[in-house]
């Protein structure tokens, strides 16, 4: 699975790690029952603290997306739900936002900047 963490983002690192797992689940990069990399391994690859990854894993466990098994690490829970599978409402809203931004003389990259500022 491909992971990307923005160290300059105002969003907490653990939230970004958790969001990456959810995105992986939604895009099919991760499947139910699949084992996630050990926290130390992922932390090393992403240059973040091990506790950050552990916090993200715990956050996902509490949300019912991950399950921990003794000696077998973290796995995608069998009843994991990554949210609505159909992105049509989100896509429509983004399209409307981009149209509105164009009317105000902004281009899509400005919208992305605005979204990053607000999230």
């Amino acid at each position: 699975m491909f992971w990307a963490i923005d160290h300059t983002s105002p969003q907490r690192l653990q939230d970004q790690v958790a969001a990456s797992v959810v995105r992986g689940l939604r895009t099919g990069e991760l499947s139910v029952g699949e084992q996630l990399p050990p926290a130390a391994e992922l932390a090393g690859a992403l240059s973040v603290d091990r506790n950050t990854v552990l916090a993200a894993y715990r956050q996902l466990r509490d949300a019912g997306i991950l399950e921990f098994r003794r000696g077998r690490g973290a796995r995608i829970a069998t009843d994991a739900e990554a949210g609505p599978g159909d992105l049509t409402p989100v896509r429509d809203a983004v399209r409307a936002t981009v149209d509105l931004a164009r009317r105000y003389g902004l281009d899509p990259s400005d919208v992305i900047t605005l979204v990053k500022e607000l999230s």
Binding site: A4, H7, L42, A45, L46
Partner: protein
């Protein structure tokens, strides 16, 4: 600053099962011999299957700012790590079916851990060694490595 990484795990339980089944005729041959030899052969066969499951059933890879770390088998051992400063070049290669190592394979010039044919990640180290590893998405792994190096 954005940090990218890739993690993946490739398995081939079919090959473990097939190689286990290949031991059946061996056990059959031994069963015609005296009891002691039979026990010895069965013991060795089970030991072989166990060693294969533990060390060669799958390969787990993490590519990122620390370089590449590879863990083989169900227990994550043996393991190897290749820091970024040791990696000269990264590429995606196609491993033909006749060149699959089905586990850890080491020679003075090459390290191979391929559990299936098809695309694989290849590292060329600064000391000249070539390392070929099966990963689910070698292109993503190469992208992650190139972006951090």
């Amino acid at each position: 600053m954005t940090t990218t990484a890739y993690t993946g795990r490739a398995t081939n339980w079919t090959m473990v099962a097939v190689s286990g089944l290949l031991l059946v005729p061996l056990i059959g041959l031994a069963s015609s011999d005296v009891d002691r030899a039979f026990v010895l052969v069965v013991g060795l066969a089970l030991l072989g299957v166990l060693a294969e499951v533990v060390t060669a059933s799958d390969v787990r890879v993490a590519c990122g700012t620390q370089g590449v770390s590879v863990h083989w088998g169900a227990l994550g051992w043996p393991r190897a790590s290749y820091p970024l400063d040791q990696i000269e070049d990264v590429s995606v290669v196609h491993v033909p079916w006749w060149a699959v190592s089905f586990g850890f394979w080491w020679t003075p010039w090459r390290t191979v851990c391929t559990v299936r044919s098809g695309p694989a990640l290849r590292l060329r180290l600064r000391n000249g060694r070539r390392v070929t590893i099966t990963v689910p998405d070698p292109a993503a792994a190469a992208t992650a490595l190139r972006s951090v190096s």
